[in-house]
Structures are given as structure tokens and as C-alpha cells.
């Protein structure tokens, strides 16, 4: 049987989610897929200048996310002994995590719980995934 895939929704700060997922993955012999989502809506409004520079800005954002967020965490995880891959995507966190989980036939999703004021009002990635994740989801406090 192929190795199981655990998807980890990583916002760039919640270290404990990654630690917990690493621990579980090593026990289950599963492979980790760390996903970082850059929040983006195709229906937002841009100024003419932003519009014209969007492609350039996107390249910069992608590079920055890969260099400062994805690379360090992957290194850390691999040092801990787990097999892991990373992906940086644009979109809405919940949608992207769900579609990746389906795409990769993931066995489980790991997500952290944030508790800022805005997430209390608008809902968080964790509550969104609790409602619409296609596979069992672990919410790490």
C-alpha cells in the first residue's frame, strides 16, 4: 500500500501543529504535505497600478513565502526525521486545503486554532475545515 499523506495547514507561525503532525506521521509511517496559503480573492479591487504590477508582485510574494516560510519549516521537519513536501498556494485557506486533500487522497488534515478577534467574528480556518473537510481533521489547540 502507498504511503499515507497527512496535509498540514501551516500559517507560518503555529509551530505546535507541525510538531504534532510530525509526531503522528512518524508513528503512522505517513508522509507530510505542508501547505501555506496566501489569502487571495479574484474578486478584490485593485488600482490600475497594482493591476499592471500584479504579476511581478505575485512572483515576489511567492519567492518570499517559499524562502522565509516553507523552506525553514521543511528543513526542520526533515531534520526531525519525517518525510515532507511543501506547497505554497494562492486562494482561500479552507478551499485550498480541501482541494489539496482531495487531490492527494490525503488520510488526514492537521490545522491549528487561532483566536484573534477577527477569527471569532468571521470564523477561522479551523472552523471552516471542521465544517467542510473531506477527510478526518485534527484541530491542534
Amino acid at each position: 500500500m502507498a504511503q499515507e499523506v497527512f496535509v498540514v495547514a501551516y500559517d507560518g507561525t503555529d509551530q505546535q501543529v507541525v510538531d504534532f503532525a510530525v509526531d503522528r506521521a512518524m508513528k503512522a509511517g505517513a508522509q507530510l504535505l505542508i501547505v501555506h496559503v496566501l489569502e487571495w480573492s479574484p474578486y478584490s479591487f485593485l488600482t490600475t497600478e497594482e493591476l499592471v504590477e500584479r504579476h511581478k508582485t505575485r512572483q515576489q510574494e511567492m519567492t518570499r513565502a517559499n524562502e522565509t516560510i516553507m523552506k525553514p519549516i521543511l528543513e526542520k521537519v526533515r531534520q526531525a526525521g519525517a518525510t515532507a513536501d511543501g506547497e505554497v498556494r494562492y486562494g482561500h485557506v479552507v478551499d485550498i486545503i480541501c482541494s489539496i486533500a482531495k487531490e492527494k487522497n490525503a488520510a488526514m488534515i492537521f490545522v491549528g486554532r487561532s483566536s484573534s478577534l477577527s477569527t471569532r467574528v468571521f470564523g477561522s480556518a479551523a472552523s471552516g475545515l471542521a465544517q467542510s473537510a473531506p477527510v478526518p481533521t485534527v484541530i491542534v489547540p
Binding site: 490600475t48 499592471v52 500584479r54 511581478k56 498556494r89 482541494s99
Partner: protein, 525 residues
């Protein structure tokens, strides 16, 4: 943004000059002096652009636009109707590829282009059209909007197809590029380059006229209007409003305070919705007069209803104001549309054809209906015809108003406090239009004189000076120059579109074939 010393000196020098020249003359006469000086320079240009065809009173340039829109409509076999649903589907993102997330979407390109076009042309320009051409002008305006969709479709497809993409990922597109590159492909390299340069020159004038002075002028008019009309402390002191607006524009385009621009960009769509909503409320209040209003519009379109210009007058003003508002055939919008990320240039053409629809067929029509229905245009109770004010060259209106003040009065009849909202909306619309056009202007400027921060700064400072001039001048002079500049762009742009329309047709046929065969699929949700 950080400037070197010299640039700072230039900037502060220009501002000082502005303040000094404004303060040196007595306040009362500042506006007059500006009026006379500018009119001296612009009148010959305006006269040339609007000279009538020999033996008629139809300005040749209006005919030029009408014929182009008609030709494109037939050449692409009513693409604006055939592709309407597909256009909406594209804007909704039904065909977006997931890997393109984070790039400019069709929706964003349309929204940005719209916030550049939805401006005071929709509020004030329409009032001018209805006052000068009578209610019948509305009919021709709608028709011009519908046909203009084909012109817009053509120019925006070309804008994407012939844009320049630079290694750093930024893009430059628009008429300058399709004229020079597209015409070169057709073996017309030299004429193409000449046309691109001439177009860029006119674009600079258009940015200063329609994209700037007209907007500033009408913002001032509406602010005076809500602060007490002729008794307002700002009445006849347009340069004060102008200076305030110029300094905000200066902060954005020179000072690089983008948050102001971003704020406007986000609030303009809501303002547009609010405006249309308010118009609907007024139509609901006067619901019993809607059939009458449509009757007036249709009858006026073909008979003139006693308006001096008659049918031709209604037609000319209708077409003229529509073109001024939706910019179809002018070429400006293709600069914004060309930034979208797509493998198929034609899809941006499809999306862009919604622009004249929203701008003219929806928003302008609302303004016109409100003006006609609320009865701010005076009707002779005996004959049932509109009272002609021959001195002003338009229909007599309540309080002798025109432009944005007339629209404001009409809205005020239904919703007494709406003129204040309209004043805020006018400021925001004008502001977003100015920011967009300053960008178009810079693109034209750097196309002519080369890239460079100092060159951009020179243009931007000039742009700010024109805000003050525009606010201080009277409407007639401003609207003439603004029109002339915008139409001059159409002169060159449309000539290029005729040469390049087979390219668009080829793209269109290939795309529609693949769409029909099911090779282009909707994204699974």
C-alpha cells in the same frame, strides 16, 4: 518614495509657483484669468475636432465613432449579443485556471477599468446630453453604448495580444503598442510607429482634459451646489477646490501614498451601486411616469420634440456623451485590460464588452431617466414641448442648471438629502477616474520621452496643475476641450482598429470554435 534633492526642488518649486500665481490675483478674477488664457490655446484645437462635415452640421468626428461602432458590430456579427453570457461566465471565474490564482483575474481587470470609466461623464455628461439634445439623446446614447461594446471588444483584445511583457513581470499594453507592433506585422511599420506617437500625444491631452479637468470642474460644481449654490463661499472660487483636490492627487501620484488610491478603488463600486439604487428608488417614486418618460425618449429620438437641433441634435449629443462616458473606440481602457493574465487575448475582449454596457446602458440611462422623469427640464404647458433657452443653447431647466447640478436637482426631487451623497460620490468617482487617467497619461508620457522617475514626476506635477485649472474654468470651455482631446484619441485608435480587426476575427473564430467543440471547458467547482 524617496526623491533626490534636485527632484524635490523641482516639485516644491512647481507647487510654490502654483500657490503664488493663485494668490497674486484678486480671488474674484483668478477663475476668469484661467478661463481666458486656456480658451485661447484650446479653441483652435476644439474647432478642428468638431468642425462639421461640409454642408451639414454633423461633426465629422462623431460620425467617425458611430460608423466605427457600426462596422465592428456587423464585422463581428453582433458579438456583443452572442458573447454576452459567456462574458459574464468569464468574469465570474468559471474558466479561470487554478494555477493562475494570485494573478489579475478577469473580474479585477473589469472592475479597475470600470472605475476609470465610471466618472462624472455618467452623472454630469448625461445631464448635458439631455439638456442640449432633449430626452431623445438618451435613446441614441443607449444605442451608442450597445454598439460601442463591439469597439471596446476589438481594442481590448488587441491590447492583450500586443502588450509588452518585461523580464521583471510587469506589462505595458494599449493602443501605443498594438499600433506600433500590430501594424508592423501588416507591413505598415512606419505608419504604425507614427500613429503610436500621435496617439500617445493625444492621450496626454485626453488625460489632462477628460480624465482630469472635466472631473475637477464638475466636483467643484457639485460642492458649490450643496454648500448654497450662488451664495456659497466657494462660488466662483474654483481654484480653492482645485488646490485641495490637486494636493490629494499630488499625495497619491507623486507622494506615493497608495492607501488613498486603494481606499477609493474599494469604495467606488459601492458608490456606483448606491447611485443606481437611488436612481431606482426615484423611478419607483415616479413609477406612473415611466411610460411617459420612455415615450418622451423615443419620440425625442426621432422628432426632436421642438429641440433646436431636432433629431440630429439629439443624435449627436447622445453619441458624443456616450463615447465620452464609456470611452469605447478611444483606446484608453485597453491599457488597464492588457494587464490580465490569460492565454487567450480574446477572453479579455469578451470581458471588456461588458464595460460600455454597465457604464452607458445601465448607469447613464439611469441618470437620463431620473432627469426626464422628475421634470427638471421645463415643458411649455400649452404645446407640451420643451422650452428652449436659446441663449444657453439648451432646454430651459429649473434654476437654469446644467451638468452635475441638474442631475443633483433631479435626484433631490425624489430624495431630498441625496445631493449630499451625490457630492461625495462625485468626489470619489472623479478621484478614481483622475488616478486612472494619470496612470494612462504617465504611460503615454514615458512612451514618448522614455522611462525615468524624473520624467514621470514632470508629468504628474503638470497633471496636478491641470486639476486646479479645470476646477476654475467654466463648464462649456472645459467640456469642449475634454471632448476634443478624447475624440482626437479615437481618430487615431479607430484607424488602427480597422487595419487590425482581421486579427481579432481570427482569434475570435478560433476561440469560439474550440468553445463549441468543448475543448475549452468550465472549471469544476
Amino acid at each position: 518614495m524617496i526623491f533626490d534633492r534636485k527632484t524635490q526642488r523641482i516639485a516644491s518649486g512647481a507647487l510654490l509657483f502654483l500657490f503664488a500665481s493663485s494668490a497674486s490675483a484678486r480671488a474674484q478674477s483668478v477663475d476668469d484669468i484661467i478661463n481666458e488664457t486656456v480658451a485661447f490655446f484650446t479653441t483652435p484645437f476644439v474647432k478642428f475636432i468638431f468642425s462639421p462635415l461640409p454642408g451639414t452640421n454633423i461633426p465629422w468626428i462623431v460620425l467617425w465613432l458611430v460608423i466605427a461602432a457600426t462596422i465592428f458590430t456587423f464585422y463581428f456579427a453582433f458579438i456583443q449579443i452572442r458573447a454576452f453570457r459567456h462574458s459574464i461566465s468569464l468574469v465570474k471565474g468559471d474558466y479561470a485556471r487554478p494555477e493562475d490564482a494570485g494573478e489579475v483575474s478577469h473580474f479585477q481587470a473589469l472592475a479597475t477599468a470600470l472605475s476609470g470609466t465610471v466618472g462624472l461623464g455618467n452623472i454630469a455628461g448625461v445631464a448635458v446630453a439631455v439638456a442640449v439634445g432633449g430626452p431623445g439623446a438618451t435613446f441614441w446614447m443607449i444605442l451608442a453604448g450597445l454598439m460601442g461594446m463591439a469597439s471596446k471588444f476589438t481594442e481590448c483584445t488587441l491590447g492583450v495580444k500586443y502588450r509588452n511583457e518585461y523580464p521583471d513581470g510587469s506589462v505595458s499594453g494599449g493602443p501605443m503598442y498594438y499600433l506600433s507592433k500590430g501594424l508592423a506585422e501588416k507591413g505598415l511599420g512606419l505608419p504604425g510607429r507614427v500613429m503610436a506617437v500621435v496617439f500617445a500625444s493625444f492621450l496626454i491631452l485626453g488625460a489632462l482634459g477628460g480624465g482630469n479637468m472635466f472631473q475637477a470642474n464638475q466636483v467643484h460644481a457639485q460642492i458649490v451646489n450643496v454648500t448654497g449654490g450662488a451664495n456659497s463661499f466657494l462660488s466662483g472660487e474654483g481654484w480653492i477646490t482645485g488646490l485641495i483636490m490637486a494636493s490629494v492627487v499630488f499625495m497619491v501620484i507623486v507622494g506615493g501614498i497608495r492607501s488613498i488610491a486603494r481606499f477609493t478603488e474599494k469604495i467606488v463600486p459601492f458608490m456606483a451601486a448606491l447611485y443606481v439604487g437611488a436612481a431606482l428608488v426615484i423611478l419607483a417614486i415616479y413609477v406612473d411616469r415611466i411610460p411617459w418618460a420612455f415615450g418622451q425618449i423615443i419620440a425625442g429620438a426621432f422628432t426632436g420634440l421642438g429641440i433646436a437641433g431636432g433629431l440630429v441634435g439629439a443624435l449627436i449629443t447622445g453619441f458624443q456623451r456616450a463615447a465620452f462616458s464609456n470611452e469605447a473606440g478611444i483606446g484608453s481602457a485597453s491599457i488597464a485590460h492588457s494587464a490580465v493574465r490569460t492565454k487567450e487575448p480574446i477572453t479579455e475582449g469578451f470581458v471588456s464588452l461588458l464595460e460600455p454596457f454597465i457604464d452607458t446602458v445601465v448607469i447613464c440611462t439611469m441618470t437620463a431617466l431620473v432627469i426626464v422623469i422628475t421634470g427638471v427640464l421645463q415643458i411649455d404647458p400649452q404645446t407640451g414641448l420643451y422650452v428652449w433657452n436659446s441663449e444657453a443653447g439648451r432646454v430651459a431647466t429649473e434654476g437654469n442648471l446644467t451638468g452635475v447640478a441638474l442631475t443633483s436637482a433631479a435626484f433631490g426631487k425624489g430624495i431630498s438629502w441625496f445631493p449630499y451623497v451625490l457630492a461625495i460620490a462625485a468626489v470619489l468617482f472623479a478621484f478614481s477616474t483622475m488616478i486612472s487617467w494619470s496612470y494612462y497619461g504617465v504611460k503615454a508620457w514615458t512612451y514618448l520621452f522614455g522611462e525615468g522617475r524624473r520624467r514621470e514626476l514632470a508629468f504628474n506635477i503638470m497633471f496636478c496643475v491641470f486639476v486646479v485649472i479645470g476646477a476654475a474654468m467654466n463648464l462649456g470651455a472645459v467640456i469642449n476641450f475634454a471632448d476634443a482631446a478624447i475624440f482626437a484619441m479615437a481618430l487615431i485608435n479607430i484607424a488602427g482598429l480597422y487595419v487590425l480587426m482581421p486579427v481579432v476575427k481570427e482569434e475570435m473564430n478560433s476561440y469560439l470554435d474550440r468553445l463549441q467543440r468543448g475543448e475549452i471547458k468550465k472549471r469544476r467547482r
